[in-house]
Amino acid sequence: MADLTQAQIAAIAPDTQTIARAQAVASPVKWPAGGQDERALWGQCRGAELYDVAIDRRDLATRCTCPSRRRPCKHALALLMLSLGGMVAPGTAPAWVDAWLAEREPKGPRRPPDAEAQQKRVAEREAKIAAGLDELERWLDDLLRQGIAAAPSRPWETWDQAAARLVDAQAPGLARRVRALHAAAVSGEGWPERLAERVGLLGVLVRAYRAQDALPDDLRADVRAQIGWTQAQDDLLAGAGVRDAWHVLGTRVEEDERYRSQRTWLCGRDTGRNALVLAFAAAQAPLDRSLLPGTTVDAELVFYPGAAPLRALVKERGEARRLAAFPGAGVDAALGAWARALALCPFVEAFPLALANVTPLRRKDGWWLRDARGDAVRVAGRFEKTWELAALAGGRPIGTFGEWDGETVWPLSAWADGELEEL
């Protein structure tokens, strides 16, 4: 357990220097006051002044009165280290800790929205989307009439302009898919198949959205989410969730110019369900790392509605413990699960692949993961840590978790010698 928490400290720290500085502060002599209860840790740290520091146990959110711009700051990390060393005694929280915790509680029912204004906004957006779909239909028709052969040499701006019009039409999901067409067009060998499929799915989305009233509820939810309608998290969290011991198997962070997004993949021990928890942060801010790969958390997850639901929110969670066993399958079974998900919802993109007993193999055409039967999946060509994966395996079968995009797997963690190592 000690290691686990050390790793958590390392995971939430903004950088290694801050960890090193925190270690210098993690000495009881620098902490004239401190304590903990089941909700939080708190203390006063002597720096240039006396700083008030507190940590919310539930998600390791921190608060400190120091002027540092790095968050969590060294004082908060030091407090975690002290508690790890058993140097924070139980106590009664001071008032400012109670106040801070109360502030962090989810807000009570908001002022009921003005139903009429709300309805008007929705109607306006629907009208814009309908116009956007008409324009997208013409654009797609044009593209297919002239042929996509010239697509790889079309400048990025022509895709981006089409996407921008969809942003104006308040259909950001479609805009993202149009921008992704450019990536497919310049993706090298096999690009016509990749591009044609995505063009095709855009056409399907246009039709499906127009005919959404004829769709089953869950598929309708998928289509609306694909267009870019979001659901209020509070509404979702009010519904019932799925309780299980959730294994945290991997995270992937992608950076944009403006923000970073993080996908965390979970797998339920008893339900066998896969879940995807998203987190976003502005460029410099730390991402929520309370779900740490290599741990198992008892939690209630609420899934976004859909025909093959993956995306979920954490409604309630307990403490994390070390992952005891890797929940993997052979290549054929794992791809079978993916095919079933596709059959339910054709818009599934990244899909979790937990492969048990696969050996990383380097061949002339790249790296593969091969199971005992000889079935294999190709590792993404741009994946940079193949040698780390090979080192962890040592030529033997290991568990590997990654994201599958229909052609290649992007490994996120490896299970070797009874431990999950992030890649």
Partner: protein, 441 residues
Amino acid sequence: MTPYPALVKVALLGRGRQAPPPDDGPFGGLDLAARLAAAALFEKAGRLPARIDAGGGRAPDDDVPRASPAASRALASVLAAFPEILPEWLARCRGAGRRARARDLPALLELARTTPRLRAPVAGVLGGRGRWLAGENPAWSFAAETDAGDWETDARPARLALLKRRRAADPDAARALLESTFAKEGGEDRAAFVAALDTGLAISDEPFLERALDDRRKEVRRAAAALLVRLPGSRLARRMQERLHASLRGARVVFPAACDDAMLRDGVEPVPPKGVGAKAFWLFQIVAAVPPAGLPWDRLVAGEHKPLFLAAGSRAALVHADADVAEILLRRAAAGDEGVDAALVEVLPENRRHALLEELLGERAPEALALVLRAPPTLSPSLSRAAVRAASRAPYRGRILAELARRIDPNVDPDLHTVLADQLPVLELRARIHRELPRPP
């Protein structure tokens, strides 16, 4: 249903220019898009996994235990923030009887590839897994555990690696291998291969090296002479000793009259650097080539030719790892004499080194401090305290303290925290390394 490839062909060339496939499905408006999506989905969901052959070998089982996860995290901090203390992490890991964790092996091998002086320390923590991994990637072959390679046909780097491996295993057999082809080798190869006999050097190499002194290429002669100097029983060493005795026979130092052919053959450079007298330069080389034990150093470094003997004695004590002479010379350096090589600090065994440096710090701190900065980590607790105190009074103390922070005992007294405030992050990291990778009792 029209198969996906046929539909893609239509999409590529354009619905306007291409006749629809012979089935009579709809093609107007979004029809082609919808049919593309359906056929693609059908293909994707139905595709069977690729089947490939098993291949590759397995890494051997490791007897040496792995470093702890915390030691691995400390390594990550070292690489991210304080790469200058990587040698200490490597030495500690090896000293603790541990090997690097598998996930750290590629980064270490890559560093060793780009920084050759890290190769030996990295090799010490690779374990069987790391040597196996090095064999899987041609870029890391320098660390591979293999006897692969062909002495007759490989390129020079591979042959050099092979020669060094064989030397480590069976020096005489390796030398015999080299001798079997030596006459046919090019000049640069001969010089590189002779220098490689450094590994496993012993008196049985002497006849071969003595012959190499007559090589037609200067680099080969030099490499051979440099090795023979390190073999006190060699004929070259005896000739050098005779020359030295001739010079030191009387009360006054007698300089060699000329650099004769025999001296040239033994590797003495005839032409001095600018500003150095030729005869002094010849004598310098002779002194530096002879084991320094038994010479009257107290007299030599106090006399007329003090600078020459300080410098030449330093070389000789380094080559022959003579701790007694090293201590004599280091004491002169601490007393303010110039020309002593501070690297002599590394010749002393650790306890003796720490005791001497602590004593010298008590006498002339600035000079002694310069010597302390040459000592490898970890200084004894009392020497650490003395050095930090001395540095806190020195000019430019920031730079000196930064250098000291890489060497001193990282568990410094709290009363020194103020002086070392800027160094606490690296000290804390080093303390963590020491905790996670303890020396065996």
